[in-house]
Amino acid sequence: MSGHTEVGNYLTHPKGFWSWVTTIDHKRIGIMYMATTMTFFFIGGIFALLVRLELLTPGLTVMSADTYNKFFTYHGAIMVFMFIIPIIPAALGNFFLPIMIGAKDVAFPRLNLASYYIFISGAALAVWALMAHGADTGWTFYTPYSIRTNTSVVLVALGVFVMGFSSILTGLNFITTVHKLRCPGMTFYRMPLFVWAVYATAIIQVLATPVIGITTLLLVMERVLKIGIFDPALGGDAVLFQHFFWFYSHPAVYIMILPGMGIISEVIPVFARKHIFGYKAIAYSSLAIAGISFIVWGHHMFVSGQSPLANLLFSVLTMFVAIPTAIKVFNWTATLYKGSISLKTPMLYAVSFLFMFTIGGLTGLFLAALSVDVHLHDTYFVVAHFHYVMMGGTVMGLLAGLHYWWPKMFGKMYNEWGGKISWALIFIGFNMTFFTQFFLGYLGMPRRYYDYPPQYAGLNMISTIGSWFLFAGFLLMLIYFIRSFFSKEKAADNPWGGKTLEWQIPSPPTEHNFHETPTVTGKPYDYGVVKL
């Protein structure tokens, strides 16, 4: 496999800046997405550090209340719309989904590039609006506050609207690719679980995102034309906005987590050298989660004044979503049993996913229980819950995938010790930052609070110090990843012994992935079959 003679790899084969910005190669588009969204992660992270810095002590620490309100809005909006929703599908999914099903590209390569530029335009618009005029509504844009505030909600909302289109087009592209471009022998049940996960995600992207589109559009109209649909002063209904918003944003949390779960389903079998436990259950549970995710949005609104009957329904439906998730978690753990495990960096991230996502998911049950949510809603308990699932879940999955596929994407290996140390810093820092917040929340500290009564001071201080560990960990990671580009050593084509198609081609892959369309004859995780 190493004799790639006639063509160079995708990184160097057509050369030059222009060939990158006009590329329709899914791998290059994936890389461009990755660079962009990771940049947004760092920017969002810096705002998080500033938010935490302000909360180091009660009262004014470094900034005014208005600044604080803007900063947590920037943090939330950037992290959600510009980082966590696009990154795994659009970066890693773009790169690996076609290769994993033996295709030469996604179904609509030009659309793929277009969706990248749409994303960039939307993000640029939103970021420009944030920097130039600010926005202080929180990432949720609740009306009527978002109608009244004199910050630039209109432009930010338009930015979100535009980015939504990009997400839709990516999802549409992936669904079509999975249906129409699988190589001979690649039946649905032979698809790697990452592909299943991205496929389920794509369904949510296509079905839910238009709703946030119309919601942001209505919000814009509300501000520009005063149409009054969400404005009680004009006869509209403020809570209707919340329904619209969560109808998208709840499924969106599964847009965030499913691809991360997909990565975990790849990494665990490879590093345990073992067949995945319950392939079909994991594959179908992704679809089940995607399906149920559309009918639980009201659990964000238990105290909004919606009818008790609606609350009853949303509470019970939310409980159902825990079951397919639980099946996945048990199956991953069971996969480790009688494996042959190596604890490399990707695996460390995968097992910390299990550790932290479980905490995040289980605390979701507290929030889904009606009477308990009355107490916990809009407190730091919720903040801790969603960081445990988004950061402890999705970001851990992302980092597992990034380390796992790094040698494939760039043909270079990162420093393993650097990987382990930065993992430890992130693991400790994360739990310090956010575990404390469960206590804060139970003790009643509301979220989006610039200032807090003194009884919360101790826990807040620990939390802030934890965020500095996180910073150190990510900084180290940034350094060793950049250094790996300059390393002389080439990574092997299949350093981890993976069985899926992307490991059967050179690192980095050639321009069209495969010299000739491959034919698949077996399952993706057939470890342990060949007993020596």
């Binding site: 009660p58 009262g59 209340a65 208005d66 309100n69 509504t137 929180g138 009527p144 506050y145 009244r148 009680p232 403020a238 050298r273 073992k274 067949h275 319950g278 079909k280 105290v303 004044g305 609350n311 509470s315 019970v316 409980m319 159902f320 825990a322 079951i323 639980a326 099946i327 048990f330 199956n331 753990t333 049993y337 009688k338 495990i341 604890l343 299990l354 550790f355 479980t358 289980l362 049950l365 507290f366 889904a368 229980a369 009477s371 308990v372 107490h375 809603h377 809009d378 407190t379 139970y442 509301p446 200032d451 807090y452 009564p453 009884q455 826990l459 620990i462 342990g528 079959v529 020596l532």
Partner: protein, 337 residues
């Protein structure tokens, strides 16, 4: 310093709901701890037991799954989450049904303070005084954006919306001042939108109602420790005429008497005697129960719930009455038994 970090981790339980919520919280907590341990202890155990220091061969047990185990685990969990759901719902239902004899207090929220309006005309800012062991029901509305009335020690929370009423009730069962937070983001001073609920012994409460004097230790004073940090919005109070009285005056001043009798005789408009709490029939045949929201709507948007048998001639009073005045009118209409 260390002492500060060793925080107390249980919240005081100061209302009828607090022990209830905590019981379910603890149940989920223990269940979660057990599931977490099963998963994480299992995981760590496997990691160490099957850890190969050298790059491992493809040597492992060929196990692809076990549908029966998966199904039974899923079924067991389903039962557990249904228990959690049902338990949460039962408790929540109790939180939603205020007893008849509850003491009613109007709450008006605005950026960024709380106003509490009593039936006897008292108007307090950022300070709510209630008797111990007696159900209290708050009828809340907002003048601007969303807010949320939150008392952690009571485990109650309810969003407060503009142009309509929402309700929350509780029985405080320990005396003392308790913190009220605004839990829905509402702009610049969201975190300063604080108030105190002061729970008094019933005798002291009566005393307070007569003289406006709070017992020892409950005065509107900012505790020294609090002075540095989150200073709760300064409390203030005024004594006006009783709410229903004020409503009565408004009722004639605003010209309602031209069309509405309070004696039972129908005029141009329906009589308002005995209206509250009873169903009325609307033009489209729908029967609705008259509550605060209904009356509010009748006053601000009369055409939106037309009573059967009457003409759409009632003018809207939207924008001509303040929240306090609407509350007073409603209070008056409620008193017409």
């Amino acid at each position: 310093m260390i002492a500060m970090l060793l925080f107390q981790w249980r919240l005081p339980q100061a209302s009828n709901f607090a022990p209830m919520v905590d019981r379910l919280f603890d149940f989920i907590l223990w269940f979660s701890i057990i599931s977490f341990l099963i998963i994480v202890v299992g995981m760590v155990f496997f990691l160490f037991k099957y850890w190969r220091k050298k790059i491992p061969e493809d040597k492992s047990a060929y196990i692809t799954g076990h549908t029966k185990t998966e199904m039974s685990v899923a079924f067991f969990l389903l039962v557990v989450v249904m228990v959690i759901f049902y338990w949460g719902w039962i408790d929540y239902k109790a939180m939603k049904t205020a007893p008849e004899d509850a003491l009613e207090i109007n709450v008006i929220a605005r950026q960024w303070l709380w106003q509490f309006q009593y039936a006897d005309g008292k108007m307090l800012t950022n300070e709510l005084v209630v008797p111990k062991d007696k159900p209290v029901s708050l009828i809340m509305t907002s003048q601007d954006v969303l807010h949320s009335f939150y008392v952690p020690d009571f485990r109650i929370k309810q969003d407060v919306l503009p142009k309509m009423y929402t309700n929350v009730w509780f029985v405080a069962n320990k005396t003392g001042p308790y913190q009220v937070f605004c839990a829905e983001y509402c702009g610049t001073s969201h975190s300063q939108m604080l108030a105190k609920v002061k729970v008094l012994e019933p005798d002291d409460f009566e005393q307070w109602q007569m003289t406006g004097e709070l017992p020892e230790g409950m005065e509107t004073k900012v505790a020294p420790a609090e002075a540095s940090a989150a200073v709760s919005g300064a409390a203030a109070s005024t004594q006006g005429e009783p709410l229903a009285e004020k409503g009565k005056t408004l009722f004639s001043n605003k010209g309602c008497t031209a069309c509405h009798s309070v004696t039972g005789a129908a005029g141009v408009g329906p009589t308002l005697k005995g209206l509250f709490g009873h169903p009325v029939e609307l033009v489209d045949g729908q029967k609705v129960n008259v509550d605060e929201n209904y009356i509010r709507q009748s006053i601000t948007e009369p055409q939106s719930n037309m009573v059967k048998g009457f003409q759409p001639i009632m003018p809207t009073f939207k924008g001509q009455l303040s929240e306090e005045e609407i509350n007073a009118l409603i209070s008056f209409i409620k008193s017409l038994k």
